[in-house]
């Protein structure tokens, strides 16, 4: 489903991503773990089209990310951002923001679909007419997920989806994500610095450090502590 080969991203002198490769099968949940500055968020942003300066090859559901238009990419892969307090436009209602991607892409019955999406994420139809500042962090993140799903993408990229949330809210959001993945047959790529969250959510994961791949592991290997690299061990010990 996702093929990243020899991805390198350089920003004015410094290398954010250094020759990274990985593959994600359809329906799989793949984790990118690393500390700040490891390059994991940059990989996500590049995959989804927010960053257009990169070398290498990125294949998304058979499409070449370099030559595909944003509109076509948008119907296949979408992203949920880290900060729930910054991912919703302050001046528009929740309903308007969930419906907007549908309006842009000419999808029929945006209102009906909005109600459906709100239902799917566990918020009632009344939320259509609320403004973001009336919502809690967890509720905002749910809305962000609904918005990302409005174009029925097959792949969802999640950049630290629960880092800014309280632990009890994190549990709700992680449960929601797992449920949605099962119901809609989605493929996930999740970025986090929290090894416990990645281990819970992902079957396979890749450890990154300083823009480079350190190691790729399966959940079983992690649980069995079958970890080769010293840095990965350090991360494991600190979790």
């Amino acid at each position: 489903m996702i093929d990243v080969e020899n991805l390198t991203v350089r920003f004015s002198g410094s290398t954010a991503v250094d020759n990274v490769s990985f593959h994600v099968a359809e329906g799989e949940s793949f984790g990118l773990v690393g500390e700040s500055g490891s390059g994991k968020s940059t990989i996500l942003r590049t995959m989804v089209g927010l960053n257009r300066h990169w070398d290498g090859r990125i294949g998304i559901a058979g499409m070449d990310a370099r030559t595909t238009r944003q509109r076509d990419l948008a119907r296949t892969v979408q992203m949920v951002f880290q900060d729930p307090y910054g991912s919703l436009h302050p001046r528009y209602t929740i309903g308007q923001q969930i419906a907007e991607p549908m309006l842009i892409n000419g999808i029929a019955d945006p209102l009906g679909r909005t109600a459906e999406l709100l239902d799917m994420i566990g918020l009632g139809p009344k939320f259509q007419f609320r403004y973001p500042h009336e919502l809690s962090g967890g509720q905002r993140q749910r809305v962000a997920i609904a918005r990302a799903l409005s174009l029925k993408p097959r792949i969802l990229l999640l950049d630290e989806p629960t880092s800014a949330l309280d632990v009890s809210i994190q549990a709700e959001i992680l449960n929601l994500l797992n449920r949605l993945r099962k119901e809609l047959g989605l493929t996930f790529v999740i970025v986090s610095h929290d090894l416990a969250v990645i281990s819970y959510m992902c079957e396979r994961l890749m450890v990154m450090r300083n823009a480079k791949t350190v190691e790729t592991l399966t959940r079983e290997q992690l649980r069995a502590r079958d970890v080769r690299d010293a840095y990965s061990r350090q991360l494991l010990a600190a979790s």
Binding site: V48, L50, Q78, G95, Q96, L111, A115, Q128, F129
Partner: protein, 300 residues
């Protein structure tokens, strides 16, 4: 499972209700600021006086009564009479229309122009940004009154020309302001999310960036109004703005200059009017800024 599907029945009304609730919250917070309320009152008073000028005036503002030349304030001439025996109060009241006209003309042209230029420059970046900002710099470098003088000297004096001249120097600050906001907003997650959905640059600028620039622009507008009134009065004072017999406040001060020591009311009354209206706009602007500027928010 949707239990209460009522909002879907009339989404437009529900949206209006949500917007109205936001506005009510805003109004409630505004009215907690006493100085802001004073400013608002003054501005509303100006508008009301301008709207009902013919009914509020006691005399014809253009009709000279030579027997009452330079009459002091009395029961008949509320603020006294000028050197041609015209009632100063009535001229003041009619002059408010000119004040409002000039302020309105300038704001309505300069603010949107500056906003669009700044928002586009800030969102697009690159050479477009550079070109727009250099043009802005050029106009910013020219002193307001000087450009207005040159303009009016070339095109001839008059209210509309004066307003046009002031507009030319009034738009750059809005461009700067809008660009600063746009630079921040264009990288925010909510704009990125909409980019991911395939939104065009046009859509992003018009529907996502510009709404976020509005707060600073509105605050700036209220402060600017005070400045515009003063500049227009300045032009009128020199004789390049409104021409006689128009009762423009600045022109009134100019003619009243000669009598300042013995018949102080001729120059002082319009001066107090200009001062009050400027103060009103400034107080209003201060209150709005306290409410709208996210950096000044007191609560978390």
């Amino acid at each position: 499972m949707t239990l209460l599907n009522t909002p879907a029945a009339d989404p437009k009304a529900a949206l209006r209700a949500a917007r109205w609730k936001e506005f009510r919250n805003f109004a409630r917070r505004f009215f907690r600021n006493p100085l802001g309320v004073v400013g608002l009152f003054i501005v509303v008073l100006l508008v009301v006086v301008a709207a009902f000028a013919p009914w509020l005036a006691t005399h014809d503002p253009y009709l000279p009564t030579l027997s009452a030349r330079l009459a002091p304030p009395s029961a008949e001439w509320w603020f006294g009479a000028d050197e041609l025996g015209r009632d100063i109060y009535s001229r003041l009241v009619h002059g408010s229309r000119l004040t409002l006209l000039i302020v309105g003309l300038v704001i309505v042209t300069s603010a949107p122009l500056g906003l669009i230029i700044g928002a586009v420059a800030g969102t697009r970046g690159g050479w477009l940004d550079a070109v727009f900002m250099r043009i802005t710099d050029v106009f910013l470098a020219i002193p307001k009154l000087l450009l207005a003088l040159a303009f009016v000297a070339a095109l001839g004096p008059g209210i509309v020309n004066a307003a046009l001249a002031i507009t030319l120097t009034a738009w750059p600050p809005y461009a700067r302001l809008a660009r600063a906001e746009a630079l921040v907003v264009r990288n925010s997650d909510y704009v990125n999310a909409v980019r991911l959905a395939g939104a065009s640059e046009f859509r992003i600028i018009v529907f996502h960036v510009i709404p976020m620039c509005l707060s600073s622009v509105i605050v700036r507008m209220t402060f600017d109004m005070a400045g515009i009134i003063l500049t227009a009065a300045g032009l009128g004072f020199i004789g390049l703005g409104a021409q006689p017999p128009l009762p423009e406040w600045g022109a009134m001060i100019s003619t009243g200059r000669k009598f300042i020591f013995d018949q102080w009311w001729v120059a002082t009354v319009p001066g107090i009017a200009i001062f009050t209206v400027s103060l009103g706009f400034n107080l209003l602007g201060d209150a709005l800024r306290d409410l709208l500027d996210p950096h000044l928010r007191q609560r978390k």
